[in-house]
Amino acid sequence: MTNPIVEAVPLVEAVDVSRRFSRKLDYAEKIANLFGAGLEEKTVHAVDEVNLAVYPGEVVGLVGESGCGKSTLGRVMAGIMPASGGEVRWKGQPLTSLQGDDKRAMRLSAQMIFQDPMSTLNPRKRVIDLIGEAPKVHGIVKGREMRDYVASLAERVGLDATYLDRYPHQFSGGQRQRIGIARALAVKPKLLVCDESVAALDVSIQAQILNLFMDLKREFGLTYLFISHDLGVVKHICDRVVVMYLGRVVEIATPDELFDNPKHPYTQALIRELPSVSDRRRVFTPIKGEIPSPLHPPPGCHFHPRCPMAFDRCRVERPALKENAAKVAGRHVSACHLNDLAANQTTNATAEPAI
């Protein structure tokens, strides 16, 4: 492959990463088990054997509906939540093998920006301390230089530097999000994991923040893992889009490829149902059914109960991520058994004239 990005070492990489959450049995249930009740721990497979590499300078979008595990995967890849299976590699090194200074450097290099800044900014601290505390603690700036450092960051993200002594509640939603961004930038990160960072903002403020993200990427050479349920936003700013459904990756492609040629029936449904101003279609063709509980995911392909194309194999066998015939090789994979059917059909079609 000639694509330089593909050949580089990923900045962060998830290799067969799983994350399970289980609820331990309480005393009553343990006692019931002594009498043969046979109760088991309830386990949610929030992330189920996911492979994903994020290369330096890339903007990777992670989309899916609520409960699909996109936030969990983001946290695991940012290193703030351990994986229950598989491993996360930072510049090729397993996270668990990092010690001391390396570990601290990695932690600083991966920063998160969350959806609701009001619940992530300490309401009792002033903006100057919210932004300046981490760089001071980590020795990035000296105490007396902190104000200048924070002021320059604040100005960079579009906050008025005269407001540094205010508290978070004195700002609007968009400005608070800017504080969250300045705080993340203050420790000179390489990777920003944005978890629904613009979801709560009005459309015109959302556009301002998205523009800021793109400017910062150019200016600081940042890499983004951009988690969102909004395909429109992801399409606009990402180099590569990863679609998740119930803990698994179902499709990865470039935005153009994904929107022009979606392979997985779930991706197709997501794109079809995206409400858009330009498309005033009066008929909705919703896919049936609900997102199943991650406590009891359906066997085989998780999407099969809602999938209009499902056949017998989908009910028993988990489809693997396979490469599609894309314009750019290696840049479009999807996990659907229909791919095999299509491949057979094309081979048959090419074989037939020979007979």
Binding site: V203, A207, L274
Partner: protein, 323 residues
């Protein structure tokens, strides 16, 4: 065609310690029979308070200070609380954004629905239950008979919103006011709900006011659209017209701020600045500080202009040739 709802010069103000907050300021509009009207605007624009004002749900320190709300020709603002109770839920129903906040978590869905039926109609419990079951079936809840005895927490977000819609439908109201009912839902579930609502509104001949910040949703659902900014309706008209040829600079600003409006990877075009605090709005046009077309003239209040089925409040509207 007689309008179901006619709102005339409605103003709802909140008397706060820091001054008078004009949440809704001289708003007038009509909703025709069987019409779906989308009310869009950003947070704080007053769109929800407009909905609450119609139903008489504005709590102190808020108060409807002036105007008329004619529902089938009767002014709701002159009604006694008892008379309003007879209308609310019966002839005008409301659906809220978060059904977890509006459904009682300690009562089964059956109890809540039967209560709603019996609040307005003298029917037996069995009949009320049957009507509730039918309503659940209508909104696409599978096996409604069994689901009736479930509690709200046993439903998913989308199903809970269906329950809320079913409750709103129980009395076949003339008008439903829906306040961001699909905002918290996933795209595929939102699409299902929009599909059901559209079908039901047509089937029962209901008028609908759909409050949303999402222009895409309104584009797909509504017949007419009203755009609110800083407590006022700045533009209103047929959905197709307003979204393809907006007259007010705020409407065009909203439309060009969405990511789909620019080629992929290029900078988005946000509206500069942010909405003024409702306590200290500039005089004249409230949008003028953010508007590229503003002149000194905008310091005076723009009047409502009506041209070819379109209403807007602007001295410098976009001009679109008829071609």
């Amino acid at each position: 065609m007689t309008p179901v709802l006619e709102v005339k010069n409605l103003s709802t103000h909140f008397m706060t310690r820091r001054g008078v907050l004009k949440a809704v300021d001289d708003v007038s509009f009509t909703v025709g029979e069987r019409e779906i009207v989308g009310l869009v605007g950003e947070s704080g624009s007053g769109k929800s308070i407009t909905g609450f004002s119609i139903l008489g749900l504005v709590d102190p320190p808020g108060r409807v200070v002036s105007g008329q709300i004619l529902f089938n020709g009767e002014d709701l603002l002159t009604k006694s609380p008892t008379a309003m109770r007879a209308i609310r839920g019966k002839r005008i129903a409301m659906i809220f954004q978060d059904p977890m906040m509006t459904l009682n978590p300690v009562l089964s869905v059956a109890t809540q629905m039967i209560e709603t039926v019996q609040a307005h109609d003298r029917v037996s419990r069995a009949e009320a239950r049957a009507r509730s079951r039918d309503a659940l079936g209508l909104v696409g809840i599978p096996s409604p008979e069994e689901r009736l005895d479930s509690y709200p927490h046993q439903f998913s977000g989308g199903m809970r919103q269906r329950v809320a819609i079913a409750i709103a439908l129980l009395h076949r109201p003339d008008l439903i006011i829906a306040d961001e009912p699909t905002t918290a839902l996933d795209v595929t579930i939102q699409s299902q709900i929009l599909f059901e609502i559209k079908r039901l509104a047509a089937e029962f001949g209901m008028a609908l006011i759909w409050i949303s910040h999402d222009l895409g949703v309104v584009a797909a659902l509504a017949d007419r659209i009203m755009v609110m900014y800083a407590g006022r309706i700045v533009e209103a008209g047929q959905v197709d017209g307003v979204l393809t040829a907006p007259r007010h600079p705020y409407t065009s600003g909203l439309l060009s701020a969405v990511p789909a409006a620019v080629p992929r990877g290029e900078p988005l075009r946000p509206i500069p600045g942010f909405a003024p605090s409702p306590l200290s709005r500039p005089s004249g046009c409230a949008f003028r500080d953010r508007c590229a077309r503003a002149t000194d003239l905008c310091a005076t209040e723009p009047m409502l202009e009506i041209a070819a089925g379109r209403e807007f409040r602007c001295f410098h509207p976009h001009l679109w040739s008829a071609a």
